[in-house]
Symmetry: D2
Subunit: 273 residues, 4 copies
């Protein structure tokens, strides 16, 4: 159900992990949540129902973000039929697992870019004119972008993913450079750890997802509801104090810049230098 007096929180990539939890959080805080995801209409309906059960309002829509015009149409439809998007979250990943270069076909690499980089550009192109028009009248806008470790370093087997995320990060910086002083807060969130997200990591790991979480121990995997609080915080920082980049990971995880602390590994691999 739509309540036109509410600001809209639009999330592209609304799976049961980060996207869904962010929608839940923003709906609880008074936004109307618009959830877009590629497939699983039933899952989408469940998330909308969950939000409504918590006295929030939400709408769900299926979206093939890789298709030209799809994001653009969603933005226009939302702005026209639902309400002004005050905060948008681009939450599509482009992770395809670890693949050597010769196992990374050209069209895979291109699709990585379409979802990882180009989609952010398209969303910004479609949405920011609406936001800047409102910002000129005093209503700020926020563009949150979920990103990953691959945006700051390229690991073996990550040709498609890292190239896409590296482009995403630089694009967030250029968007921020152009739009921050116009009243649009762009935040690039480096999710540097596994998320308890059945629709992404869960699908990637398949049957071993449970064992993986077990092995990580208590609170060893990012709770997407916790991350949603950080998104909420970012979207409500006063404009005198805006964060552009922030990282998150579980307490027991080694940050990407550190060596594996396992002493067995460290010793055979290399001394500290």
């Amino acid at each position: 159900m739509t309540d036109r007096r509410k600001p809209v929180f639009l999330v592209i990539g609304a799976g049961a992990g980060i996207g869904g939890n962010a929608a839940l959080r923003f709906a609880a805080g008074g936004y109307h949540a618009v959830l877009a995801r590629r497939s699983d209409e039933a899952g989408l309906a469940r998330m909308v129902a969950e939000i409504e059960a918590a006295s929030g309002t939400a709408s769900g829509t299926l979206l093939n973000a890789a298709e030209d015009g799809s994001i653009e149409e969603l933005v226009e439809r939302t702005e026209r039929d639902i309400g002004p998007v005050h905060t948008a979250l681009y939450n599509l990943g482009a992770q395809i697992g670890t693949r050597a270069l010769d196992q990374t076909p050209h069209r895979t690499f291109e699709l990585g870019w379409r979802l990882g980089t180009y989609g952010v550009f398209r969303l910004a192109h479609a949405l920011l004119p609406h936001m800047t028009a409102r910002a000129a009248e005093g209503t700020l806008g926020t563009l949150l972008v979920t990103s990953s470790t691959a945006s700051v370093r390229g690991n073996a087997g990550q040709h498609s993913h890292a190239a896409a995320m590296g482009g995403r990060r630089m694009l967030c910086q250029t968007l921020n450079a152009e739009f921050a002083a116009q009243g649009i807060h762009v935040a690039h969130v480096i999710v540097d750890g596994p998320v308890d997200a059945p629709d992404t990591l869960g699908k990637l790991l398949g049957d071993s997802f449970g064992a993986f979480k077990q092995a990580k121990g208590k609170d060893g995997v990012i709770d997407p509801a916790a991350l949603a609080e950080t998104y909420w915080h970012l979207a409500h920082q006063p404009r005198s104090c805006w964060t552009h980049e922030v990282d998150v990971r579980p307490w027991t995880d080694t940050p990407w810049w550190n060596d594996n602390p396992d002493p067995q590994v460290a010793v055979t691999r290399r001394p500290q230098i």
Copy 2:
């Protein structure tokens, strides 16, 4: 006044800017604030009184952090006489303005290190054993460290400051690498913009502080109360989702990694490359 049932928020560098506002915020959230600063007993008393007027509790103490044993004594005294420090904020800067190398005496450079790097090490040395002992029993601890742009890049005339802050940042990473999985959250906050802080930037700029703020425009200088909310958020992230590094700046400020957007400057300086 002390309330031994409260967790303690300890801030070293409790001026009227970031430190004082963080104390106010944590006191409002149920902590007993312990404020330590180098001088201005009257100013300290005013901050304690302000917290108490808002129904919080706080204690103030003068502290020469550069002196051996001073931080250590403060930690022991606080833990013994006031209560367990759940969150500490190291908020001392080491900015001395822009000085060429031959205007940077050796003892100035050393003092920069004492306040900028060594003080964090000393605080960690004194405090983390208390925190880890409690963390082993289920009470997590947080060490917040205010840092600056100089921790990620060294500008002309910043020999003392940048060397001290570069050391600070790497130290925060080594502390995090050792202590995160023990239940201590270490967060390094890159304050990449001017703060509306009369005791630091205000003193540095002197009479031109007002004109400076005027020139920056509305919300053009970081409101330390806004930054205090980010500190509060960091200190209360669930341990499955901890941030180690975050940046903040006013909406109208160019991030440190961007060129000055003034087209006059950009054109004469260099084309985009």
Copy 3:
């Protein structure tokens, strides 16, 4: 003319700046240079003639790198008809000048990716199997990639360029992570200053190129022949001591991470933080 006993240096983006000078340098060092560029057959012939006049050998070819199959065909033809490519240089840029988001059409952004990121991927896909086969028999290979400041930070108006270069940098890291230990040296060169290159910067600046160089002063613009020496050095580092990333700029230029040192600007812009 081709000398099949020589190793081949293949440069994609062989204008009269970096590409042409690198070809000249490698030819002088005993390589057969293969120069590929998009247009200007006469200019290409002049560069080949210049190399031959200096007793080197070279071949030139026109290449539309944005076209599917073009890079692939060039690699196959070179390996089959000319000789083994020991060192390749991907030297295509994607700079289109400073353009606001609404002046950056979707197809421009996509073309930036095609030349900036995808071309490196395609070259690696086509060439590295040849190189790794030889490396297994003891002949190492080198992939040099000219890159830019936009690969490490996104400035205003650089949406297309920075996204493309950010992807390029991460891709170079993933290539290095997979191929270094197989004997392929991948080097990412951050050209953080204007180059005295008539075919790129010269065209971008047009009539003001001369005045620009004049204003930069003596040695104030990167001499591409000097940069070619750094490329030569990188391509001949023994494998126990390989560089992955290096930056270059003129002595009088401020590195990208520093503020403009002009005191007028610094003061009105912001104090050191």
Copy 4:
């Protein structure tokens, strides 16, 4: 023996690894090498003799760099008695192995800073006035600084080392920002891999050094003679094309920003994110 017509190459930290090999390389290229190290007069004499046997000239001196006035006196003595220092190499490390915070005494941390950060500052303070005076008359100067992975990330157990190296890196940036345009080339070299250096890594690993090198395989440890070629290259880049930062590592080593590629480790540790 001294030849006053030669430019001087001064190396502080002239062990049998990087420092000694750099001295050998610069002496072979026509410099008079001045080698300073803390102890082992016999080893020093052997290095001088080796340089002279190769028809070069060199002088050796013992130096306690941690002692106030020592570096200063060496610079003055060299400039006065031997000749103008055209290139200096600060090659002292501060690695003390992996130590938890409670095993890192305060004086150890301070000593790390004295050798890791303050020594570079002191060398710059003493030497750069000589260099800038000559640069004003057309003779450029170069300050090479050997640095380490710990200058860009802080690992567990590296409190002293990383803080010192983080300060070193920022200081190199501030020195470059002030002095590059005055004709002094400052280069920060990130040695991101083990070096075949008996006096440093050899001592750290002790009896296991041989087994370590064996395990790393052919060319699996940086040959300091190869690194010396990179130092030579840096010191002779024309001023239109100066490198400030460069990294090096053996071909088989994983760069610091990459995860350990061992699939066993990667799988149990975390999926790619």
